[in-house]
Amino acid sequence: MSEIILHSPIGKESYFDPDITPISTPRGGKVAFLFNGHVSVLPFWNNLESQIKSVLEPTETMQIVKPNTFAPASSEAIESLSSADLAIVGVCA
């Protein structure tokens, strides 16, 4: 029996516009985290924070924890992010 060719249903990924300038990596600066603090996602955020600390070695970190996915952060909390060199904001869950 001759071989059967199967065409892949998976498409090539479209990459973002190469003209977009990546942000610089702020080593040694202040890093802020704003995220959903529900118990189901804490392991993810704790792991991410740990990884970022090991890579960026920030001198200072700031955590703003929302009670759940759909609880908006206060405007004061969002404003306070401006004091950081890099703010990592979790969207939805």
Partner: protein
């Protein structure tokens, strides 16, 4: 090996297992996308195989005509089904549909395709008995092709980017047709501005359908029918009750005829259900799904301190989508309601089906 490249096997038995191993399907078996079958679709479409219909989120893989054809073959489509799938995909890729969110949300919603117009009869889509179930190849394979595209091009893999916690069976295939013969009102595509003679595919991200026994064959009052539908629509745990958005009401032909005979059109049904489908603030406060500060939360339109005030399931009457479909049944007058994904996205989009 590039995962987008063809692979070869020595026999069909190996083909089936290899497609599972490569992650080309979500668990259900698929048709091997051979050169002969894929070419048959491409010849029917008579379009450049590299023409891009769009980028499918969240993996952002390119939906070329060729890749769409391959997924359609795997779903069991005949070539003439593929323009329906393309129309549905065009609707899904409209920015305001927020397919990225629909694919990734923890909510259970899945895109439902609703086919309407002359193509319903031409390709035997199911608009009658068991409309959300099996029985029609066209309904089954179009819904299945949409799902495989969301899987293989969108990369909506459960536990990875698809974070749905419960999901629903419509994530395998989810396609119905509107009844072209027993609908006393305009079909959805006519409401969206297309002519009655135009065939269209509409998409709406929604939960699994909830069955409603209205008893419309045994009772006399349209008001009673709407009360029953309203109570089945307004439930404290539904996402739309908490966060607004669209709701699809599928009205069986018996109930549609009954309502129409009493002078009801879609506008009147929407208006009355918007008033009837409510729950008291005192109950809704028990649900902490959304924080009251959230922009979708009902507290933005109802006084949260008045426990007797009523929270509407439909923030505006126009949020109710109405399709006539399903069998005649007995006198039970079955209907179904399915809630959307709040104001977050998945809102109705309708596109013309363009045959070659």
């Amino acid at each position: 090996m590039d995962i987008t490249d063809p692979v070869s096997v020595n026999n069909l038995e190996d083909a089936h297992e290899l497609m599972y191993d490569l992650g080309w399907t979500d668990g259900l078996p698929v048709i091997p996308p051979t050169t002969k079958l894929v070419n048959a679709v491409l010849e029917h479409l008579n379009r450049d195989p590299q023409e891009i219909i769009g980028i499918v989120p969240p993996k952002n893989r390119i939906a070329s005509i060729e890749k769409i054809a391959i997924n359609c073959v795997m779903a069991g489509c005949k070539p003439q089904h593929v323009p329906v799938v393309i129309a549905a995909l065009e609707g899904l890729l409209e920015d305001s549909f927020n397919l990225n969110g629909v694919q990734a949300t923890t909510n259970c919603v899945a895109p439902l395709t609703i086919v309407s117009g002359p193509i319903v009869d031409e390709l035997n889509f199911n608009y009658g008995d068991n409309v959300f179930g099996g029985g029609s190849r066209s309904s089954a394979v179009v819904g299945r092709a949409v799902r495989l595209i969301l899987w293989n091009l969108g990369g909506g893999y459960p536990g990875e980017i698809d974070r749905a916690t419960i999901g629903h069976p419509g994530k395998y295939t989810f396609c119905i047709a509107e009844d072209p013969h027993n609908n006393p009102w305009e079909s959805i595509h006519e409401e969206m501005g297309f002519s009655k003679d135009t065939s269209c595919a509409s998409v709406f991200a929604c939960e699994a359908p909830h069955h409603i026994a209205t008893g419309s064959g045994y009772i006399l009052s349209a008001t009673d029918i709407l009360k029953v539908i309203a109570d089945s629509t307004a439930t404290a745990g539904s996402s739309t009750m908490n966060g607004g958005g669209q709701i699809l009401l599928v009205i069986g032909p018996m109930t549609a005829q009954k309502l129409s005979s009493e002078g009801y059109n879609k506008e009147r049904i929407r208006k009355e259900l918007a008033q009837l489908a409510v729950k008291p603030v005192g109950l809704m406060k028990s649900n902490q799904f959304l924080n009251p500060g959230h922009p979708f939360h009902w507290a933005s339109i109802v006084d949260a301190n008045d426990d007797k005030a009523m929270v509407p399931a439909l923030r505006e009457p126009e949020k109710l989508l109405i399709a006539v479909a399903g069998g005649w049944g007995s006198g039970s007058g079955f209907c179904a309601v399915t809630h959307g994904w709040m104001e977050a996205g998945g809102h109705l989009q309708t596109r013309e089906i363009k045959n070659p």
